[in-house]
Symmetry: C2
Subunit: 766 residues, 2 copies
């Protein structure tokens, strides 16, 4: 590819970027799209952002960039959680290391490459890109020491920065732990694989087990119901109700007032549900609900102290490791309810099936990638398929096809990856949303590294028809052959997949279209509860792939670095803006993405050295090749050090801190309040039915276990107030009842419950 | 190689075996060698095995075989520990699966191979071995379904047997845990990485930390001293003393009586130590000892209950994972004292250095293996080195060189492996003997699989000059090419390394020679305390390598199976005999070798399928090749299942069982006794000095922490009695003192100690 073709591609992308960014800066000021661009702030900060009509609204502006840059880490942490901070640090790390790499490589290595061979020089614009890669350096060149030194500096500084960042995230994680004092997940253990006993109910089994073996710290428990069918019915009901939900469009702070909204038949066709007035809906669902509740497969067990919960979660409970499996419970909002009742014994086979599925997908995806590579290696293709000649004779056509089309097609194919991977991760059976996303993140990352990086290289090699003698040599040499050749593709990939996709992320094209359809085509009410969470599972792999490209190409084809650097700068602005304004933090993994990032960077660094080893070997410079070996060991040793020094903090919590927290809470008397809050923290059926169930459970438990703690009435009122914000979909049913009547009904069912409970729970449940 | 060459090799080996076994059955009846052949029984069962001179002593007999076979698993467990049982199960598993494989392959597959091609048949003895391998089957043969079915049966049965065995060992491990009620390791946690504080002594740091964070279960602690120089001095002193040690040759049960043995200058030259009368030796060492004791780097912390210790050992203590690192302590006899004070921060770098070292060793070892392969491929070698012609013209010579010499040389080279690997494992810094041996075991196993199996194959392939086109194909095809070719070498390897080394193991050649030199050349007294422990780190890899050979060759070259089966039968008899009579169980890992065995078998099974995939591919039978894919996934799924079902039991202990044990001990009042025993369980300096130190520590602690528990006197007496058997090297010094004087001196030092302790421990220590 010539420089001019590259410039064509860059031009197209810069044009698209400028257009979309300007459009964004206008659209974000339009009240109609306020839900698209300020979803988080509306949902969490409850601001009214409606403004009057002024001309300024239609002039592109840059104020939002300044705002995004000015936001401190503290603010980001408060607004978007620790994961967002980890993501932000990843971008900061990339900017730092690639700024250094760009300076070193552009001023140190690029001249060595360009003047590597004595030859006739063309005008710079029609110079082949190949001129700027290591391919242009003569065999046995003495200038390879420059490459070695730059490699050493980049590896060393990258390790240093990684160390600093790892420490920083670990510190933040501990701080996060200490600050989240009212976090029910810290007191709760999720028990799975509860063995079935013939005589007693599952609930009393759990009670017996934990009073016997964890008597000193056990508080109470809450059983999870196997709710396959119930879940389906509830979802159907939710959908139906949701359409006739509250129309709190402009009045956002009317929550907690007992207002009855009329329920009307809406335009959507619904075969399975005939919509009835809300009371009947409730009754109808209620009946089915009680019919379908099945015996439990898991339970949440609550402990008196954080340390007690930690100890119970870490120990192997019985001599059969697939029974009474304990883990620290995820946060209430993080719980992935539809997986939580899965039999623990199934999980291993699900995991295998998922791995198999991902592998098959990985392999099948080679086809489109190879096809794309065929396009980018047009001159080779032309030789084999001569009928393309006519089309490709036109120079402009050829430039577009080699420079722009391949990466656009790849980008479109890649859009299918993350939904499929998240499907796989769901099948795997994680118990929390964040775990599911994290698992999808690693899957997508593996996919990107394998399919975009390696397969691109491999197919490039196949099309280039490398001489067969090299095929017996090792992989490093093969990579070394192909990397400089493939740089052009990678540069265009950075331009399209990087720059353009950042712009589309900023524009929120999908959100915009969805909003438009909902509002103007279907003429439905906007769903204020639906604010998306940040797609870490697609964005982290994307950024990490660019990091890998950057490291592996830096020394060999430094021309990629300025494009990458621009990408990271843009990404820094865009992602901060999106995290602050668009996405909502419903759950947080507590920085667990960082170890993935760390490992990927280490992998990239090692791979870079291996590739350079091959390249220097090809250039017949054994000294330079030999110099790439020590850094590999240094990097791996550094990795091992980080594993011992930081990784344990991301697997568990230090007991010292937990005990200190427990003691402080006990001293200050906050503990009772926390214990009280635990009773209503986890709710399997977050709609009306489960409120009744919850109340029943709570009152029942109160009477059973700690009578003195709180009366049913106070409890009823408090949960009603506290959990109001979450129940925004279908709460008309409950709100229709006056609070006093609600309390009466709850109390009567509670009495029934406690009476029944003593004669065995299952009688009532079935 | 021809059948006759194989028979030559087999003949030589059978001859050697018969000779050595007969020799053994005679030698074992000679009183002079009783220490060599009955080390364990003398040391542990204190039997007197001296018999009168009768002719029967010089007649070979087979009674010992019957005895070895009759011994039940219970007896083996009692005599040699759980590791021995695991080892025994490994042999049983091998016998079972290879009996089945031998029947199936010899009657099902061998005829298919032999009649695979229509050709002129020679006499069976001059038939090439190649005729019996899959190489003789025609391309696109329809008979490959026999191979597929046999493979399926072998894989399925192997997995079933593995499952049964894993479950069995896991059950035994739990039983072992429950039976070992007085096991101090269960109550003890080894703390490393204790941070240095400026003000206080390390001991009070430990005390503060555990009383603060584990107050409910913390009992007391014992500091480990950094004893680099001390250790050296002690070792020197021990050596010097040991030579003049007690001459309890015939009177084995004179222990615990206060007899003074005269100390005399012995024949060995000693530059660093001038041997003095024992009192002065003691004083001398004493002085140096106190001078060199340095501040602690680690500590043993004792807990009230097993569960308390488990909880403390599993939790991450502080926010810095390299500080206050807790692990369950090894058994007192298992502690590897010279590593225990190593700074925890060093360990990661030691681990890396060891891995690097092993890798380098692994690679360098390729040279001798390749050389050996050159010998076994003599006809190929002959073509290249024509000057060998004269030597190799003699048919008998050629048969010995191809059939016998290569594996003998390999065997000799392999003798260097295990000492080097155990050296690496020591450098790695394990805190217990069993851990060190386990780590060496995996290293040796990797080494064997890589160097004996893969490099043998690879060098065979290189010498065979495989056609270059195959080099671009994948590894399975390469293996497929070579395996049938290399079978002859593997068969001779089984004969020499297997049969002959078993015989030499039975004969205890090294022990015999050592014993002879000590007794008749150096004329020294026999060292009754020195009874070797079973070398699991060399024997397990050996047996597993034969397993790998068996699985991978079974279908392709079934002729190896009868030889292997004989090896396993012989091994079963020999190892049981040795475990019962020769080796002593000083420490026991509690069956931790089994997961290694399991993983290796799984690896072997998968590799077998991969090789068969390649072979069937070469035979252009896509159906048969396709049929090898599903078992791979099945085996890996099975492995994953075993990991979830059994592996956790080998990593930690189930808390339910521990709590039950604790409760029973508390109910029966045994707990106090156990706590009392803990005080003297771990002793860093197991000779005279440390007894004083121990007493001081114990008395001091008694007065500090639980005055009512036991008086210093009773304690003194008890430890003296209990620990007598261990102190057999240099106890003349202490024994010289009457018990009353000893007590007085201990008490006076104890008073000093407690007085000093309050003003800071270090004052006394320095």
């Amino acid at each position: 590819m010539k420089i001019s073709a590259l410039m064509t591609s860059a031009g197209i992308n810069i044009g698209i970027c400028v257009l979309l960014w300007s459009l964004y800066s206008v659209l974000r000021k339009q009240p109609a799209f306020v839900r698209v661009y300020f979803g988080r702030r509306i949902a969490e900060e409850n601001r009214l952002l409606r403004e009057a009509f002024i001309l300024e609204r239609f002039v592109p502006s840059t104020g939002w960039i300044v705002k995004a840059l000015q936001c401190t880490e503290e603010e980001l942490l408060a607004a978007a959680g620790l994961d967002a901070v980890a993501f932000n640090r990843m971008l900061v790390f990339s900017i730092r290391i690639f700024s250094l790499a760009a300076i070193l490589c552009l001023f140190g290595i690029l001249p060595v490459h360009y003047f590597g061979r004595k030859m006739h020089r063309l005008e710079i614009s029609s110079e082949q890109l190949h001129m700027f890669t290591v391919g242009n350096v003569e065999v046995q060149s003495r200038w390879l020491w420059v490459h070695s030194i730059v490699l050493y500096i980049i590896s060393g500084v990258a390790c240093f920065l990684l160390y600093v960042e790892y420490g920083h995230i670990a510190r933040l994680r501990l701080l996060h732990l200490k600050r989240a004092t009212l976090n029910p997940g810290q007191f709760t253990v999720l028990v799975r694989g509860i063995p079935k006993t013939a005589n007693e109910s599952c609930s009393s089994d759990v009670d017996d087990f934990f009073t016997k073996y964890h008597a000193s710290s056990y508080l109470f428990h809450q059983v999870v119901y196997k709710a396959g069918k119930v879940q389906k019915i509830m979802t159907g009901a939710k959908k139906a109700c949701g359409m006739s939900g509250p129309s709190t469009d402009t009045t956002l702070d009317q929550r907690c007032k007992a207002v009855t909204y009329p329920c009307c038949l809406c335009g959507a066709s619904s075969d399975s549900f005939q919509l009835l007035p809300t009371d009947e809906v409730a009754k109808n669902i209620d009946k089915k609900f009680w019919n379908y509740l099945q015996e439990c497969a898991a339970a949440f067990v609550f402990f008196k102290t954080r340390y007690g919960a930690l100890v119970a979660s870490e120990a192997l409970q019985t001599s059969n490791p697939t029974k009474w499996v304990t883990d620290l419970a995820p946060e209430p909002d993080d719980v992935y309810w539809s997986n939580i009742w899965l039999p623990y014994k199934q999980l291993w086979i699900r995991r295998i099936a998922t791995v198999l599925g991902s592998l098959v997908f990985l392999v099948l995806f080679v086809v489109p990638v190879a096809f794309i590579q065929g396009l980018s290696q047009l001159d080779q293709l032309q030789k084999k398929l001569p009928f393309l000649d006519g089309l490709l004779k036109k120079p402009y056509m050829s430039q577009i096809i080699t420079g722009y089309l391949p990466s656009v097609i790849l980008l479109l194919f890649l859009y299918t990856v993350s939904p499929i991977m998240i499907l796989f991760s769901t099948m795997e059976g994680p118990t929390s949303h964040s775990e599911r996303k994290k698992s999808a993140c690693s899957k997508v990352l593996h996919f990107y590294i394998w399919n975009v990086f390696f397969v691109s290289l491999a197919s490039g090699a196949v099309i280039n028809q490398l001489n067969p003698s090299s095929s017996t040599k090792d992989i490093a040499v093969r990579l070394a052959h192909v990397i400089p050749e493939q740089t052009t593709f990678f540069i265009t990939y950075v331009l399209t997949s990087g720059w353009a996709s950042l712009s589309s992320e900023l524009m929120q094209l999908f959100g915009l279209i969805y909003n438009f359809i909902i509002k103007y085509v279907l003429r439905m009410k906007e769903d204020i509860a639906f604010v998306p969470t940040f797609p870490y599972h697609t964005e982290i792999p994307k950024v990490m792939l660019f990091g890998l490209l950057g490291f592996s190409c830096s020394v060999l084809a430094p021309l990629i670095l300025p494009f990458l650097l621009v990408y990271f700068f843009l990404g820094y602005v865009v992602y901060r803006n999106q995290l602050l304004n668009v996405y909502r933090m419903r759950y947080d993994s507590g920085g667990l993405y960082w170890p993935i990032v760390h490992n990927t960077v280490i992998f990239s660094l090692v791979l870079t050295q291996v590739i350079c080893f091959g390249v220097f070997g090809l250039k017949e410079s054994p000294v330079a090749a030999g110099f790439t070996i020590p850094p590999i060991f240094f990097i791996l040793s550094f990795h091992q050090y980080c594993r011992t020094r930081f990784l344990p903090l991301f697997k568990t919590f230090p007991s010292q801190d937990l005990i200190d927290l427990d003691r402080e809470d006990q001293r200050s008397g906050r503990m009772e309040h926390i214990h009280h809050g635990l009773r209503s923290a986890y709710r399997q059926f977050p709609d009306n039915e489960d409120i009744k169930l919850e109340q029943i459970l709570t009152v029942g438990n109160d009477e059973d276990q700690d009578e003195g703690c709180s009366s049913g009435e106070r409890n009823g009122e408090e949960t009603c107030k506290e959990q109001e914000p979450r129940r925004d979909l279908c709460h008309s049913t409950l709100k229709g009842l006056p609070v006093s009547r609600l309390r009466d009904s709850v109390r009567s069912i509670a009495l029934l419950w406690t009476a029944e409970k003593r004669s065995g729970d299952r009688a009532l449940i079935n």
